[in-house]
Symmetry: D2
């Protein structure tokens, strides 16, 4: 626990926002698995700052350097270390934050936990920048899943109260998800982009920020993956999803709304079909008893508004022990929802690799050339 | 993963609904910790069936027999095995369910995962009955936390669309939470009990079931517990919460609603107070950056309506490969929300013990007499 | 760690010698695996006390009661809890040991670790009796391995300085190992039994005890199992072997003697054979680079003489803080080597199941009827 | 398991001999722990090649670059990634080894495990070079232990059959161990250096290699560390020791010789002393029941002769499927025992940090300035 995730597709993350580098070690990629570095670069670019006017103006190329575990385009079976060197850091922006705690941030909680020894520069190890290694691990995972016919995609379900329509939980297909992956601003109803950007811009203009919701799904997931209890699909996905800074809620299928349904409404009727067994609805988000049932796996994650805002906030000065106010300066995203989309996709990809490895017959353990 | 939880307060669960016994092994309780078996019995009774007319009429005493790890009322430091013998099983009720899959249940997903070898009697290992060992582990955890000044409580936040008011996220106190623990039907607004019971009864009368929401909180939790990323408070609580059958959403603080706030609204302003540092609001549910900030820890879990309903449902017959219908007979709860309250409390208690053990100075490692 | 072993074939042990029961939960047995309870009973009987005049005269049937995870003779895929109820305990024998520490035992170390709260009756959780659950877990593991063509056996390589000849590390076969399993006193040179028993009897007559060495091997293990570093075959086997009370040394292949060889002597020459690849010697005990190479896996474990002896020993009285002497009374084995043979076999069986599950293609994950 | 070690002092290693870099991520170093990079450099230099004529003539500075987790000379509490860039690689030397398997090496076992996709250059992930990250992790661990009064040291107990005298298991002191650490060729009887070097030179002259034994000890270890069974001191030390390539036997205290003792000889008598409790002998190597008893912790590890030898050996050609011969060329150590000394010390240091963290009161969790 802590820096380590998983027992099958095992991740270890490290790094601070303004340290030497950030990275992740992945253990558990079967030898012979093709590793497409161009696909990785595309995924990294989707998360990287500076690529969209709605996000921060910082430019960080976020190129992953693979230090180990890959040779001639294939996994060797040894641990894969992906590293992103830190550049373009302007630590001066953060000097005041050593003593003045940013509301909504980890500053105070981290100060107590680490007895004041934590690296405060750019948020240190708490920085959202640490999601870059997750996207690398997710990109590798997604490649493994694609070889098994599994496709993952996500869209912006809401920004600042403006909501996209939901994925069809029963009839969604891989094409829809792939198209979202390739979109610069992934929406099912692209006409909403203008309104969403306007709300972000309005908040930014007031020195404020906005949050949102991401809906993520996987199709092609066979039935029988996951376990009851601690290794349930929901348990593993949520453990990872809540690892992503700013996520405050995770919901599968109908989520909180399922509480108001009756059993006769929430139960998904089952039918024999050409392809086997399927349900005529998907209120359970593709998971029953913690295990996939062959329907699309669907979940939502709420992303809170970026806590770094220019507007003056009430806070404390730890050095003086007195109340004070704070305006967070620097180049901060007024909305991280767009950049979080590939992170949330990575969460699902990593979780499915972890869970499928428990089911050897479903996992591409040894890759034959 | 799977039957094992944790690296510090380690649980291993086992058992099937209609097998010999169900139980849990707890490793990590410091030697010398007083174990109050009467308090355990009270917690078990809150979850046990048969104690409330709104729940099933099955009577299962659910007495925990401690097989190891406790001597003369104190933990010995060795693993504690708590076991509940199974009695009063009527397997005949479930005979038809071997082939006819219950919608909303784990039947089909489990059949695929376990290649048809899973125990189908009473839901087998998937049974909600497996939450009894969780309550035992949670009761032990709660006793350890109480010795550190931490109090946990929960209430029914919603049943069938009828909502109780929310806990005051800033000013809640231990007395309120303890009173909820002792309530036969824990509500902040007790006047709602009638309406909730009426909605349960109405569903039952139609052979149907209802779901709900539980709000759970802890006060007295010091700042500095938890870790960024995979060991965040939210990650560990949600991994456990989604282990509880029927939970489909987990939300901290404002949960999904935080997505529509601005940063200036969602950030909790900080103030110096007599006791140290506190916030004037608690939209983050007591957790920032994955770590407690000293405010009450608050989360909600959505419980789906019981999938076992008498109303006819469309489903499949795995033996014939044909579509069919099913009415689930037997003594099933029309609503499990009330019985789930101590389970959700246990989730938080177990998670906090796991997380606090990472912070030795906060954990009652060695108990001096 | 502690009461938990493994990430694939996961064990959790519990119990004290004179508590209610001892047992183990096994998670990771594939659904559908046949579980032969008679074979388990035979393995348990080999470890049980009272079956051989050289061992203790205590009679403990050690019948395992399977509480979960098995139905109709097959694993259900859910955790398997095997429990052995404690009977025939005579705690009175141990009353003086609460304060007078037995040299060579865990008494003092355990007293410090557990702050005096550990269960001292019969050694409590430290008792050699806890190896009974290991034999149960090993018996299940052995059944899984047998289905893959892997046979495990062991013999008494030494008792009290009297040494049996070694297994032929290159040409040993399954028949030899199976014959050892069925032997009442497993030796490659059965003529040594008399001398060994005489040495045990001589020590017993003087109120003393003797130790020995067990050599254990597996044939039919395919090449490619294990990992470099922390998951090496030697790492996993030794972690388990040193879990067995009284083991003080573990050696693979030539063991300590390999240090005096030259590279040209210690390297095992490789040859193409009908069946594939093999070596003409086996100084490395079937493991190179932490991974099996297709040769028999061979290791030795040193068992120290039973520390419970009637001869007077110098020790301390923790209550008075003074020096004293102690004669351990009660029915203690003058030699546990014979009873440890199935325990050491179990160590290898459990380790191989754990390691093979990492290599899905080698592991009988899903059992088709 | 595999690339990950530990649940408290958690390591993740990565890298291949001729890849971009090798390294380790350490999670679990308490925030505020002083990290002395000069002490780390000294430990790294002891293991590095090229520093002694008895070892390989390759020169690799092995400078560790700390990529994360340390700021202003102290641990931040976040994961510490130490990386060693690879330089001075001459992959051409190894071209023939892709098909011709080196006897005694991981070549064949690794080829099977990784389906031929493993990196064969310089041994790839199996290279002894991966012990450099272990020395880094061990050096950090040693600094933490030193702050608790624990000192670790080791010496060459044997090379090529020439044996140094043993450490006094009862009366050894920290000065002796520290002096060994500072020695260029650590022996208790320095007069043996000439003979040992002569034997190494003789083997080298014949294109051969030699092995040896390392004895390692820790003083100042309080009683009460470790657990019975899977978390025993011996289990954790041996899991790590067998992770070191070339280790084939691990023995605590009297090791294999204890098998021939009687209980009255092997039991260590206990006495009250000024400082508390101690034993008058230490046949058990400071560990009883898996837990430290306050005596020095002592173990030995056998190092097999380097498998890479110039002498012609019989082996196979995997490409042709035919028998062949092989002379391993390149700059290989004729004896790695000297360089392995700091590696074995690191094994003990890492194991003790892992085990002590289970005992919070013994572990320097939060460092106060």
């Amino acid at each position: 626990m802590r820096a380590n995730f998983g027992t099958q597709y095992r991740l270890t993350i490290f790094g601070e926002s303004h340290g030497e580098a950030i990275g992740v070690v992945i253990d558990g990629v079967p030898a012979g698995t093709p590793i497409d570095e161009q696909a990785i670069a595309r995924d990294m670019a989707r998360r990287a700052p500076g690529s969209d006017p709605a996000a921060t103006s910082r430019k960080e190329p976020d190129a992953v350097r693979i230090m180990s575990g890959v040779m001639d385009g294939r996994a060797t079976g040894a641990p894969i270390c992906g590293m992103i060197m830190n550049t373009n850091t302007r630590s001066g922006d953060y000097a005041q934050l050593r003593t003045r705690m940013r509301p909504g941030h980890a500053d105070y909680a981290g100060h107590v936990k680490y007895s004041g020894y934590n690296d405060p520069r750019g948020g240190g190890h708490f920085s959202g920048r640490l999601t870059a290694p997750l996207v690398f691990a997710g990109s590798v995972a997604r490649q493994m899943l694609a070889a098994r016919g599994i496709t993952i995609g996500a869209h912006i379900a809401q920004i600042a109260g403006c909501s996209d329509r939901a994925l069809d939980p029963v009839h969604m297909d891989a094409q829809t998800l792939l198209a979202l992956q390739e979109s610069r601003f992934p929406l099912l109803d692209p006409s909403l982009e203008g309104e969403m950007r306007a709300r972000i811009a309005a908040a930014k203009a007031e020195g404020d920020s906005v949050g949102g919701v991401i809906e993520c799904a996987a199709v092609g997931v066979p039935a029988g993956i996951g376990s009851p209890f601690f290794g349930s699909v929901e348990s593993v996905v949520s453990q990872l999803a809540f690892s992503v800074p700013a996520v405050k809620a995770v919901a599968f299928g109908d989520g909180m709304d399922i509480a108001a349904l009756r059993g006769s409404e929430a139960n998904d009727p089952m039918r024999m079909t050409d392809g086997g067994v399927s349900c005529t609805s998907n209120h359970n988000g593709g998971v029953t008893g913690g295990i996939t049932n062959g329907m699309p796996v669907v979940f939502r994650a709420a992303i809170k508004p970026t806590p770094s805002i220019a507007r003056e906030q009430q806070t404390i000065n730890l050095e003086t022990g007195e109340n004070t106010t704070l305006s967070v300066t620097g180049r901060h995203d007024p909305c991280i929802v767009l950049r979080a989309v590939p992170v949330i996709e990575s969460v699902l990809a990593i979780a499915l690799c972890e869970l499928m490895a428990d089911d050897c017959s479903l996992y591409p353990h040894r890759h034959t050339p």
